[in-house]
Amino acid sequence: MTPRPSPQRNEAPAEHQEIAITASTPSPSKGGDPGAGTAAAAVELRGITKRFPGVVANHDINLTVRPGTVHALMGENGAGKSTLMKILYGMQRPDEGTIAINGEQVEFSSPGDAIARGIGMVHQHFMLADNLTVLENVVLGGEKLHGIGGRARAKIMEISDQYGLNVRPDALVEDLGVAERQRVEILKVLYRGARILILDEPTAVLVPQEVDALFGNLRELKAEGVTVIFISHKLHEVLSVADAISVIRRGTTVGDADPQQVTARQLAEMMVGSELPSPESRESTVTSTEMLRVEALRIAKPDAEGIERVVLDDISLTIRKGEVLGIAGVEGNGQAELVEAIMGMLPLTAGTVTLDGTDLTGALTRSRREAGIGYIPEDRHRHGLLLEAPLWENRILGHVTEEPNSKGFRLDPAAARKDTLRIVQEYDVRTPGIEVTAASLSGGNQQKLIVGREMSHRPKLLIAAHPTRGVDVGAQAQIWEQIRTAQREGLAVLLISADLDELIGLSDAIRVIYRGRLVADADPATVTAEDLGTAMTGAASGHLESDETALAEAAAIADEQFGRSDAPGGGATGTDEPSDAPADTAADDAQAGE
């Protein structure tokens, strides 16, 4: 591991180039590319307000989507995007405001009404029956449209060819990859005659190559006159595919932006509502002291059919004090098992785990935690929290044997409460109190509580599995900052993430896991997300090194949006001069969406 210099980028950070951003007063016809003409808007929402008892989820929302465009809807988690889309899809009725589709005012009382108007929604979590074929899934519930036989098959092939979806009607859904399932979902919606597509965070589950393919599909759809509403909080994706952007914050539209003119940083600031923390220059904190050593780890466990399957094989890695080791991989390639093996939740078939010189191979989870392993689990609802317990009890979870939670065998609720208050304050957990249940907090605040809890026990090793998944931009930056601070104090981190920018930005070294083996390694300073993505699909192995032009390009994009991806690491560039890379690269990328 070579220490890597960080880019000292002190270019005028967001001296608000107001050109691109227009405040969203009730005036219509903002956003969208100017060339779209003056045809009636595909979707026009005016003054939408939706109140739930005690909460205003949406307040005076105005949104105009031009036909045949990709319109991105951005906002932090909990900003009100989902509620708005549920209203548009007829799942909820607005308390105030009007919806107009193709210039015609409508009222939806159920998704059926919306579908009849040509609106279709692809949910974030796929709603497909695994044991049925693609054809069966598509016709399911729409049997009246084109029957269930030859006519339906012909129609499916026709749609598939028309939009380049490349769907095989007779394949079993359980055999399909994530990207292909997504295309089936899109096809399902088109099959029902949708001309306006709502895609809810469609890229969350895809690797970069698949994202590109999806964007290709979206462009085809657009070319055929389909309107796409694209919900996302990934800035560079939105910039590359959208024709128009609307940003929602705290339940109301705060502005529209033109993707050709706005920078990622400006967008991020619109979403968060304040200036993002600038990345500071960072010295490498990696020391030569070994903290975690995993050797020849192997886990074989029986699957559903009772056949022994090797889920992890020959895994060896070391993490030193102050080092962040990133694990890249498509989900389900053994990351979860690797974490559980180190946490002592899965029995090892072979291999050893050593922490700071102590052999933990046979230790129970509790003694591993006591030995100094902090754990930010992948699924915080399943593994990180007691949802129906108050915050202070959640603060005890995982550290019940440690100060201040207990004295001997007795619990110390008073001290635990006091310390919970401290965590809430120091880690900026937004909550009215510590007696409310964990379930009542938003995802980002739940995660901040978990991070605060784990960091409070001064871990030697932190296992962070997707630490910022489903977390809004503001909380994301805070969590990254906390990890970096602890790293400076000598924390070793095992980082598992599906967000390659996060991996490249935070890690000191990256390993790629594929089918239970570590197949490739890379220096985050000399690798691009695309090359990592290739290795994640098993197409490359060994030491990865990307060519310099690609790196420079990636660095430029990263810098362009450093409020987000650059924040964790302070730059992914080594010898290249990032400031020389023209900022236009990003703009070019954005224009590719035309």
Binding site: G54, R250, T437
Partner: protein, 384 residues
């Protein structure tokens, strides 16, 4: 210490969430009301006056001897409820308290009859025997669950049936029962030594079981162990989310085994108030179904000591006063079972409804408070 408790004390008042209290009371009260309505309808349909029936029960229930009888019965029900609740708190459904207490009582009676020690040794010996046997019997289900993944519900139900056979097998004269029965024709263990008599409190209405005090102590211990110890936290965490508990370092398998054994040991005590105070032997006439009543009482009492105490008193009151129904009027005693049954069904449904409503309500409240905070902050921003 003094400084740190002060804020905690002040916080305690705020911490009492009256809405939550109201919500948690709503479910059982609703269940009782619905069951009264249903049993009234049943009585009315069969051509009887429901008000007269309730009047008979109420009148008898206010007599002091009925009150003592109610308290005595409630003591047994309470212990049974606590035994079940201990498992319920970690989502472990020990349906087998029935078999556990009967085996425990049989062995306790046998041991008590076989030895004659001074009271301060005899009584603890008998109690320990009952707890040990109950715990061991329950541990079979625990081991099956941990080692083989057998559902504890099925295992304990089966073990109940087996326990009945084992009791029958052991009560054969020459084994646990003396070859020549002493006083009656029924087969039973030898009467225990007089030193095993548990003390009673003499009142106007008769003898009150000294076990009332044991029950109170058990209730307090239950509450303290669950809420104030590491073990209790682990147990509750496992009950709320097994996956989270495991990730937090709880050895779930050991936890299952431990709480199964503790639940069984507590169940072993169920038969003790009767055995040590009134019957002094275990025989065919020893009261049945106490374990099942414990399940109902624990459900109604929401697995908390105070709730279980109230539920036990209610059930005991119904049982004691029901006897009067056929005596004082043309009423079937079974109407009380209709009431008890409907209470359990209603309460299970009502608790789930209330739980969901409460969770949603709190999410909305938190959302509203945060929105208010955010709005206040925004106002400040604008002003600045």
């Amino acid at each position: 210490m003094t400084t740190s408790t002060e804020p905690a004390q002040r916080g305690r008042l705020q911490r009492i969430d009256w809405e939550k209290v109201g919500l948690s009371l709503a479910a059982p009260v609703l269940a009782v009301v619905i069951s009264v309505v249903i049993s009234s309808i049943v009585l009315a349909v069969s051509g009887r006056d429901p008000f007269q029936a309730f009047n008979i029960m109420g009148t008898y229930g206010s007599a002091s001897d009925a009150q003592v009888a109610t308290l005595n019965k409630a003591t047994t029900y309470f212990i049974s409820g606590i035994a079940v609740a201990f498992g319920f708190r970690m989502n472990l459904f020990n349906i087998g308290t029935e078999g556990q207490y009967r085996l425990g009582a049989l062995f306790a009676a046998y041991v008590g009859g076989a030895v004659n020690l001074p009271s301060f040794l005899e009584i603890p010996l008998v109690l320990l025997t009952a707890m040990l046997v109950g715990g061991l019997w329950a541990s079979i289900a625990g081991v099956l669950k941990v080692k083989r993944g057998v559902s504890e519900v099925i295992a304990t139900i089966m073990l109940n049936a087996i326990a009945t056979s084992v009791v029958g097998l052991l009560l054969i004269p020459g084994r646990f029962a003396p070859t020549v029965s002493g006083t009656s024709n029924s087969i039973q263990t030898k009467d225990m030594a007089a030193s095993s008599d548990f003390f009673t409190i003499t009142t106007q209405g008769g003898e009150l079981y000294g076990f009332v005090i044991v029950a109170v102590v058990l209730g307090i211990a239950f509450q303290l162990v669950l809420n104030r110890t590491r073990f209790g936290f682990d147990l509750r965490a496992t009950g709320r989310s097994e996956a989270a508990a495991q990730a937090s370092g709880v050895n779930v398998k050991r936890m299952v085994l431990t709480s199964m054994v503790v639940s069984g040991a507590l169940a072993g005590l169920i038969g003790m108030p009767d055995l040590l105070t009134t019957t002094h032997h275990f025989g065919q006439t020893f009261q049945l179904n106490l374990g099942f009543i414990g399940i109902a009482v624990a459900l109604l009492g929401r697995n908390t000591p105070v709730g279980i105490a109230i539920a036990s008193l209610l059930y005991a009151f119904l049982d004691v006063t029901a006897v009067q129904l056929p005596l004082k009027g043309d009423f079937p005693q079974e109407i009380v079972q209709v009431m008890q049954g409907t209470i359990v069904i209603c309460v299970v449904v009502a608790y789930e409804l209330v739980r969901r409503y409460g969770l949603k309500r709190q999410q909305q409240k938190v959302g509203a408070q945060l929105a208010a905070q955010a709005a206040a902050a925004a106002k400040k921003e604008v002003a600045a």
